[in-house]
């Protein structure tokens, strides 16, 4: 089972109590953040931060290599109330809530459409072959750069900095640079 995108930025821990196993089931390795408050909040700063992180994660997913897989409802902020193992929840916890559709800030279908449009338009964003990095002849198909546009060393890849660039080239002319800050 999986957590919806909205829950990955709203809960630091799993909340599977409704499954009747005293919250022992499901993965304990949630790889999530609650942005300061566990679960729903009306704090506008936290709501805005969560929406920003959702936009970033959708972008990272759709700009990554391979076929992007989006969990149904992630584009409209569907939540499972922190439950990351809804196998036994044939009720609103496990059902997809589409009420975020059309709601400002929550509805990200336009962003997803923009990202899929970019993938269609630019082959450098949807390579079909495994990337090699820097080749012996000096050419490259992907590079990781520091904010100063110098090539990252292996140590730099440990993400000590706050900003990185990924430069990709396609099979023909054309390059892309994606910045994550």
């Amino acid at each position: 089972m999986a957590s919806p995108l909205a829950d990955l930025v709203s809960y630091a821990h799993k909340h599977n109590e409704a499954n009747g196993e005293e919250n022992r089931d499901g993965s304990d390795d949630n790889d999530s953040t609650n942005c300061g408050v566990e679960g729903p909040t009306s704090d506008p700063k936290i709501v805005a931060l969560r929406q920003q992180l959702r936009r970033n994660l959708l972008s990272s997913l759709l700009l990554a290599q391979g076929v992007p897989l989006i969990l149904a409802g992630d584009e409209v902020g569907n939540s499972q109330n922190g439950n990351n193992n809804t196998y036994c929840q044939d009720n609103p916890i496990g059902w997809i809530d589409w009420s975020g559709l059309g709601r400002k800030g929550e509805d990200m279908t336009e962003l997803v459409a923009q990202l899929t449009s970019l993938r269609r338009a630019f082959p450098q964003l949807r390579r079909r072959r495994w990337v090699e990095g820097r080749r012996p002849d000096g050419s490259f198909d992907v590079l990781w750069l520091t904010p100063q546009a110098t090539e990252m060393t292996e140590a730099g890849l440990e993400f000590s900095g706050r900003a990185v660039s990924l430069v990709r080239t396609g099979s023909g002319p054309g390059g892309a640079v994606a910045r994550f800050s």
Partner: protein
């Protein structure tokens, strides 16, 4: 969580790439038609994903 400041970065430069066109900014609206010269400086908003193409 504390908000971080904007981050300065340099647009990559090479013999092949001289201009970079913004196509995605997850924080701000993109300025239509704006291009960035390779080697020039840019400012990335904190917690942003930016994409430029040539």
């Amino acid at each position: 969580m504390q908000r971080r400041s904007r981050i300065e970065f340099t647009f990559p430069t090479s013999a092949e790439y001289s201009r970079w066109l913004p196509v995605l900014d997850t924080v701000n609206r993109i300025e239509a038609g704006k291009e960035n010269a390779a080697g020039s400086k840019g400012l990335a908003p904190s917690r942003a994903v930016l994409v430029f193409l040539r």
